[in-house]
Symmetry: C2
Subunit: 248 residues, 2 copies
Amino acid sequence: MQRYFINEDQIKNENNELLVYIDEADSHHIKDVMRMHLNEKVIVCIENKTNYLCEIILLSKKVVLRVIEELNENNELNINVTIAHGLVRKDKQEEVIRRLTELGCFAYLPVMMDRSIIKLNNKELKFKNERLERIVKEATEQSERNKKMLLLDVIAFNDLIKIFPNYDLVLFASVSEKNDLSLKEKLNIKENTKNILVIIGPEGGFSDSEIEKIKKTSAYTISLGKRVLRTETAPLCAMSILAYEGEK
Amino acid sequence: MQRYFINEDQIKNENNELLVYIDEADSHHIKDVMRMHLNEKVIVCIENKTNYLCEIILLSKKVVLRVIEELNENNELNINVTIAHGLVRKDKQEEVIRRLTELGCFAYLPVMMDRSIIKLNNKELKFKNERLERIVKEATEQSERNKKMLLLDVIAFNDLIKIFPNYDLVLFASVSEKNDLSLKEKLNIKENTKNILVIIGPEGGFSDSEIEKIKKTSAYTISLGKRVLRTETAPLCAMSILAYEGEK
């Protein structure tokens, strides 16, 4: 069923009925994209709180819904996976962000690495923008998740290393370290792992100096298989496997 | 190291040296895209046979290499995964085909399903074309595989069901069957499974009649997690997990 993320203040109690006032963008989606009709059902989600099954009671410039019942559903993983990804080209970013959202990723953290092809200057260091936020919202609704993937702002590689202690497990996906243990063996190391950080390089991979720095930390080097994956494929592969292992 | 797939007849024994005559397209890639120089090393692969480490000895209109040694490497999975995918739009096809090749997929089989948005008429039933073949070749070289993913021609859904007996295991990735066993539990059913067929729906999912037909076969229904994946994300997720399980 089609679902829409709304803010809590869009719900109003009127004559003992809960009504939902849909904003302009989602009203347009309901009327003109989905071409829904009166009495048709949709789900509205208040992030990190409740989902409601609703029916359409007014199809005007703005759409109004009536709450039928509160839903008890949770499609989120038990683990929080943050993907730290070497800054890649904008078109690749959008695809990766959309697919990671679908696959259940908790947060996306772009990292300025030595071999990142695009370089943000200080003025542009703000990575997030309306378009990316919109992609996340749409992918969250389409994949029926209960919360949106967090889009974090770009950080420098040296600052990435400083946040390792915030995570239960840090995984470093390396192409060159072929003899390392597989992700499978690493995931068996710790039970009850909740917060996982996965580090994936940009188009040209990690620089030697970055590899040296990571090797001095508690991060585990993992392999995503014998084949060399593109920078936009590796995050999807890692997230698919972690969701699979996290949803036993 | 950069690698190129060649035909066996491009290798010639001259004065007890094995020389490789690179074709025009790959010569262009070596000279103008990679900007390689004399004596630089590349790997050439004869599909399903041998890989050779070579050095560049002539950079003319066509490039010539000298074989240094035969390599003993295998980056292929032990399982052969065929992805049967509801026919999707051309731009999605290309992305799926590129990423499945990287991830180690054995064969891609497009299937005309009830809800496929694009419909091939008889004249266009030939799915493969030079552009798709080129995408597979490039992705094979980039991911350092030993063989190219097979691009099969489109078949009708009813013919898909007829080929189930050719496989050791047939997996049916369904969104609606949420209470089914996870892929993990299914993969534990059979050991020594070699040939696996995974069936994934098109944009609108499977039709009720297709689901009924599949349920009458030996196919196992699997879930790729609680979230609803797009038709172009599901094959990558399934292939990532199967490669992970197949490469223990």
